[in-house]
């Protein structure tokens, strides 16, 4: 890090959402079962103190394909970005998550965080997650993390031993996994979709 040539990845052919000094951008993404989606987002933090907060939720099954390409470009100093994407894949669904944070040489005192967490429900669902950091400044706080896991068997048995049916126990687990990324007022809709994914 801090080495190599400062280049913006190819995603930059999409026109960026430019956040100016002192502005705050909040974006929420929700992908529910029933369609494939290809979502490309390019955010440019162009003025000092700009902020961008991205949240994403995806639920997919069948043969659906969901692809996120995110580029968070810190161009100016003192900017702050967060990204949290949580998703569940069932059936033969395929998920790709490519998330890149680029911090320009002048963008000192950057704070940039990215997380992508996934649960796969079947052996045939596939998740590929590629978080990347390209940092060309030296005074920055950046982190990224990605996980791909399954529903926890011990939790499921504990819930069932108390009388909660298997499907409902799974739903509770998935709901709690997704809760940090569920937009306000959409809980009911997400709950219905979870039932759909479990069928």
């Amino acid at each position: 890090m801090g080495h190599g040539k400062y280049v913006i990845p190819s995603i930059a052919s999409v026109s960026p959402i430019v956040v100016q000094a002192g502005e705050v951008l909040n974006l929420e993404f929700v992908v529910l079962p029933g369609e494939s989606k290809d979502i490309t987002v390019f955010v440019e933090l162009a003025g000092p103190g700009a902020e961008a907060h991205l949240k994403g939720l995806y639920l997919c099954n069948g043969d659906e394909q969901v692809h996120f390409r995110i580029l968070m470009h810190h161009r100016a100093p003192g900017c702050h970005s967060t990204q949290l994407f949580n998703g569940i894949a069932g059936g033969r669904a395929q998920v790709h998550f490519d998330g890149t944070i680029v911090v320009a040489p002048d963008a000192q005192q950057t704070q940039a965080y990215q997380e992508n967490h996934n649960i796969v429900l079947t052996d045939t669902a596939k998740v590929e997650t590629k978080p990347q950091l390209e940092i060309y400044a030296d005074d920055v706080k950046c982190s990224h993390g990605a996980t791909v896991g399954q529903l926890n068997e011990n939790e499921l048995f504990y819930m069932r031993s108390r009388g909660i049916p298997e499907k409902e126990a799974k739903t509770l687990q998935m709901l709690s996994f997704l809760s940090p990324v569920i937009p306000e007022g959409r809980e009911e809709e997400i709950l219905l979709s979870l039932h759909h994914v479990l069928e």
């Binding site: 939790e155 048995f157 504990y158 819930m159 031993s161 108390r162 009388g163």
Partner: protein, 244 residues
Amino acid sequence: MLQINNLHARIGDKEILKGIDLHIGPGEVHAVMGPNGAGKSTLAAVLTGKPGYEVTEGSILFQGKDLLAMAPEERAWAGLFLSFQYPIEIPGVTITAFMKAAVNAKRKAQGLPEMKAGDFLKLMKEKMAFVQMKPEFAKREVNVGFSGGEKKRNEIFQMALLDPMLSILDETDSGLDVDALKIVADGVNALRSPEKSAIIVTHYQKLLEYVQPDHVHVLKDGRIVKNGGRELIDIIENQGFDQF
């Protein structure tokens, strides 16, 4: 209440239970004691239907029904409860949400409507007070960040709330200080009735000083090697399990 006949069970290729016979009548409290590795926890796991255990021979009747044919949740609806040796943490799910789902699932299975929110919260409050759990625990995530004692108390709270016919307490006394042990014991004693039964699984006598069993069984190497009354507890305390 419960009839276990010639129960054999294994995990993978390893046979753990090698022919268990145990009959528990209504209102009776039975202690199952034995050294580590005797099969005590396997017995509790098989009774509650934990995945991964295979019953190769024998039968279990619970209130006249074939217990082994039932899913774990169906066993709970029928009135079976296990207090876990190591209670599981469920991040993101509050105790209130957890217990509400449990209570209403049983009511649904019985053809009853969901409990009214107000009635449910009142019931929760009452049972939490019963095990001296602070009210703020209602909003905590299940067992997340709980101390050992708090986890065990949460098990007894769930037991009180779900009001089972047969409770299995798997090493509930392990890791408890005397005060926590007394609270747990008081909880268990208060739930004793002429209809309700309990199995206390333990490898030492601590809890049995406070909850007096009617019958004591010694489990060793997958078999019950001795049946008796409370006098067995003292014999074990003085001479250990090697004598059996």
